[in-house]
Structure formats: structure tokens, C-alpha cells
Amino acid sequence: MANKVEVKDVFKTYKRGKAEFHALNGISLSIKEGEFLAVMGPSGSGKSTLLHLIGALDKPTSGEVFIDGVSLSLLGDDALSQIRREKVGFIFQQFNLLPTLTARENILLPLRIAGKSSRETERYADEVIEAVGLTNWSSNLPEEMSGGQMQRVGIARALAIRPSIILADEPTGNLDSKTSEEILNLLKDCQEQFKQTIIMVIHDAKAAAYGDRIIRLKDGQIDEEVEAYSANLI
């Protein structure tokens, strides 16, 4: 199977005054189409940065990120925007909902940005809304919702356009364990049913266990890698 995402020798350095902070330190990684990858690691290990680079939200200091074989460093703003809105569904750690829009409007926003709002696409979006358990909250504003509900809006928004890559930054951070399980099952469904590629940054081992492969970052590099089904435990 082709590599959906490829990260080649990527460095990302942030400067703060004279101090430099190396968020990523020459990381290389391939993710197959339809794979579910869980990324673990302590805070500051570069997991979110990695996700941002794959999601075309930021540019590496050096090295390259390929999506479907295309190097992002060759693309201009229009093409990168197109990748963001059509190929990638990003679940943000802090939800990033627009405060003036209702839950459903927030969820439909990517469809509207992509100009793909139709009866058919909205029906799928409504299915997603039902799957994340927000049917009764779809006309509420974010300020009227709990953290968990807002998180579910963020998840539904990322899934609504049925992107080929789902990038999730701590998608279950604000959810109780039962709801977490439902959401993770939903992500797994996306992988199984629509062959969507999922990359999930997560600190909780129980959620990471949903991945086919679990990598662990440390100091901006891959420290450990666990293949889910090759293990033998007595």
C-alpha cells in the first residue's frame, strides 16, 4: 500500500529571543493509507508540532513532509489551504470552535469553506453529529456547552467532510471514559469503513491502544515504536 503521509528528516526549531527550542530533531516517519497511528510522549516531546506539520498548519525548519507523495514545501498558500480543507480533518486539542456559531454550524463550516455544502454532504454531517451524541445540542452555541460537548463538536467538524486523513490532538482529553470509548470506536469506524488514515496524539495508553501502531516521541525524535498485533503476551 502507498504511503499516505511521509515525514523525512524533519527539524522544527522555535526561537524565543536568543534561546532555541528544538521541537523536532530529524524525525522520519511513514504512515500507510488506512493506518491508525497513535503518537505518545511527554509534553514538549514534539508530538503536537509533528501533527501541525502533517496538517499543513506549519512549516518545518528543514526536511520535508509528503502527503500523497506531494511535498508540502513546494506548495503555495492556495494549495496548502486546499490540503487543509479537503484532505485533512484536524481535531484540535482546544476545540477551536467559532464562538458565534452554533454546534451544527461549526460542524458544517469545513463544508462551507470547501464549497461542498449540499443535501448529501450535510446528511453525512448529521450522521456524524448523531454518532458523537450531539443531536440535541446542534443548535447550541459553544458557550452553552461543556468541555466534553465542545470537544465532540470539534471531532464532528473534523469528520464531517470525510477527509482522507484525520489528525487528532488529544481528542479524548475532556471526555469521560465511556464517551472516550465511543469516540475512539467512531474513529476506528472511520478507519475500517472509509479507509481514512488516522494520526492521533494521545498521552493516555488506553486510548493509544486503538492504534495499529504506537510511536513514542522523546526530544523530537521517535524513541519507541510498537506494532499492535505482533506482540505476544502470556
Partner: protein
């Protein structure tokens, strides 16, 4: 030990032979709680001896099979057990702990390596259990499935706790290392002052 009560519970549903009991037990325990035939048969023997179940023979396709049935006493025992909450805290029986206790003073790197490998193993196992759980969730919900699901949850929560504990061990070991190093440095400085 509740292999005993597990078997009683299964026999309370219907009389079964030893092979069927093993399969039914595995199904409920979701493969996480490994019991072998030896354990099953030794438990059955004890139950027969205590008068909680009785055995009868029957012919099936020319092969003699012993089929077990629960007694009144057995039903009573099962009900009493079911109604009482479990008082015991899960005992810490990890080999790893024993290994830790003996290895630590000698080789820090080796113990860190061991902890990491152990943690990876747990993660892989968790992934396997999660896969089972996910497949189960897609089959829709019967009562048995819910029970299996809950049991898998228990295993996962425990494993998660173990992973956390292992991570914690690693962090503390590393921290301890650096404290020692700092102490050594401080001693050097004191030496210089003098």
C-alpha cells in the same frame, strides 16, 4: 479464587461437560484470563468433592463424556458469593517487581531497558485487547457481550495502571540518577572549596 464460582455460574445455566465449560469460560473472560484444562478439571474435582456439583456420564457418538450438573448446595454457594462484594484488593504479583527489587542496585541501564520493554509489551497487549473490544462493539449488544466488554475494560484499566506505574518508575529512576549526579557534583565543589 473465582474460577470455582465462574464454573458454578456456568453450570447454573445448564449442565455441560469439561470441554464446553472451558470454552464458555474463555468466552466470558475474553481470553485475558488464561485458564488451562488442568485448572478447570482440578477445580471440577474439588467442586464434586464438596458436593456443589455432580457428574454423570453420557454417550455421544460412541465417546463417553462426563457431564456436570449443579446441586442445590452449589446454587446456594453461588448465590451467597454473588451477593457479597469482593473484599480483596488485587494483589501485586508482577514478576517485574521482584526483578526490580533485585536488579536496581546493580544496573540502572538494564533496569530502564527492562521497564521500557515491559511497557511496550503491555501496550501491545492493550492494543490487542482493544481490537477485541472494538470488534465486540460492532456486533451489537447482548448481555454476555456486555459482560465480556466489562471484563476487557477491567483488563485494560489494570494494564493502563501498570503502564502508568512503569512510566512512573522510569521517571523516578532517572530523577534519582540525576540527584545522585548532582550530589556528586556538589561534593566535588565542596572539595574544591577546601
Amino acid at each position: 479464587m473465582s474460577v470455582k464460582h465462574g464454573l458454578l455460574g456456568l453450570l447454573a445455566r445448564k449442565p455441560q461437560n469439561g470441554y464446553e465449560l472451558k470454552n464458555a469460560f474463555d468466552e466470558i473472560a475474553g481470553g485475558f484470563w488464561d485458564v488451562n484444562f488442568g485448572q478447570i478439571y482440578s477445580t471440577i474435582d474439588r467442586l464434586v468433592k464438596d458436593g456443589l456439583i455432580t457428574a454423570s456420564s453420557e454417550d455421544a457418538e460412541g465417546v463417553e463424556r462426563r457431564v456436570y450438573q449443579i446441586t442445590q448446595k452449589g446454587i446456594q454457594e453461588f448465590k451467597d458469593w454473588l451477593d457479597k462484594p469482593s473484599a480483596k484488593v488485587r494483589p501485586l504479583r508482577d514478576e517485574i517487581f521482584v526483578k526490580l527489587a533485585f536488579m536496581y542496585p546493580f544496573d540502572k541501564e538494564a533496569i530502564l531497558q527492562l521497564l521500557a520493554e515491559q511497557r511496550q509489551l503491555y501496550l501491545a497487549k492493550m492494543a490487542e485487547l482493544t481490537r477485541k473490544k472494538y470488534l465486540l462493539s460492532r456486533q451489537g449488544g447482548s448481555r454476555d457481550m456486555l459482560m465480556t466488554d466489562l471484563l476487557l475494560d477491567a483488563a485494560l484499566f489494570h494494564a493502563e495502571a501498570d503502564v502508568k506505574w512503569l512510566e512512573h518508575c522510569e521517571a523516578k529512576l532517572r530523577g534519582f540518577e540525576s540527584i545522585q549526579r548532582e550530589e556528586a557534583l556538589e561534593n566535588d565543589e565542596i572539595g574544591l572549596d577546601q
